[in-house]
């Protein structure tokens, strides 16, 4: 108990309430953080993804197979939104969580610089849209979201009850 895991950009972590108290991440700008939580087993995970999808991956291999091959220490594991959701489900499954119990929360996807995203919505918007789309494809309900805007966020998942607290620096 009292264990806390800190996740950096492009990384993810999973845990169970008896072993891990919280999973935290900071400095979420245009990135999007996806939290999946199984209320029955108190198992959850958090991924800090940077880009919507891997466009250069011309031939998409079986997503599950590729994800299995990549070990958790590989930082590319949560680089892309779609892949990191798949990876989270796999890792949660490994420690006993059930996919049908999972509920999702997404945080981030801000538009930090107007100069960079132009009149379009930018990477932040694409990230949160990809997360919603992929969660819908997988049939995982999106419980709540705190996305968009122009400020950076920090997120903390409490594994005992699945609550996510979001704070801003400003």
């Amino acid at each position: 108990m009292g264990n806390k895991i800190i996740v950096n950009m492009g990384e993810m972590a999973v845990g169970q309430a008896d072993e891990v108290e919280t999973i935290e991440t900071g400095g979420i700008g245009s990135c999007v953080v996806i939290v999946l939580y199984d209320d029955e087993t108190k198992i959850g995970g958090l991924a800090h993804a940077m880009l919507p999808t891997n466009k250069s991956e011309a031939v998409k291999k079986d997503v599950v197979e590729t994800a299995r091959a990549s070990i958790q220490t590989d930082t590319t594991v949560a680089k892309y939104v779609d892949r990191s959701i798949d990876n989270l489900i796999i890792e949660i499954g490994k420690i006993g969580g059930k996919k049908e119990n999972l509920k999702a929360k997404i945080i981030g996807g801000a538009r930090m610089f107007r100069l960079l995203s132009g009149d379009k919505f930018g990477i932040g918007f694409q990230n949160s849209e990809m997360a919603k789309k992929h969660l819908a494809e997988l049939g995982i309900p999106l419980e709540s979201e705190d996305v968009g805007g122009t400020v950076g966020r920090n997120a903390k998942l409490q594994l005992s009850n699945g609550l996510v607290s979001v704070s801003t620096m400003m």
Partner: protein, 201 residues
Amino acid sequence: MFADYERDQLKEIINVGAGNAANALAKLIGQSVKTTVPTIHLDRIERLTAQIGDPVEVVTAILMKINGEAPGIFFLLIPTESAAKIADILTSNHKKELNVLDSFDRSALQEVGNILAGSSLGALSKFSGLSFIQSVPEIVTDSMGAILNSILVEVGDEAGAALLITVNISVGNGLRGDLFFFFDTAATGKMLNAVEQKLKS
């Protein structure tokens, strides 16, 4: 990806630019300004932020887009306290509350960014023969992680690698900040070519 001698050339080009920027800043605030030798970071974008500093530190970023022959981004990261002090010097202490930037301060700091970018890009242009066109500045205060990540992912190529060159600037009384030159790989190649041409002639 780069040979050692190319890294050295790149450092030298940026050194010229940053030296000019420091000079401009010194004139602006009336104090001597020191710069460090440029540091070259070439890595996957998810690893860059951790190399630069604490992602939860609150900083003020002044950012300009570079268009032209070698497109990229020029930005300054200044810790909030230093940003407030610089604004204070420039606006002759009009402020009552320290560490809070009002619109007047932000405007002054944007102008600092503008002048620094202008002087360093001017020097770079003279040195390399390439033309650079800078955009209007944009100022954002937030956690460093959120700021850096957002810049890196908007411009880092799909391969995920980015070239970021940083120069640390410091002024006597604890004021500090960092200058960042961020170019995509094509633009970097162009600059190295230009230098090579210059060395041959």
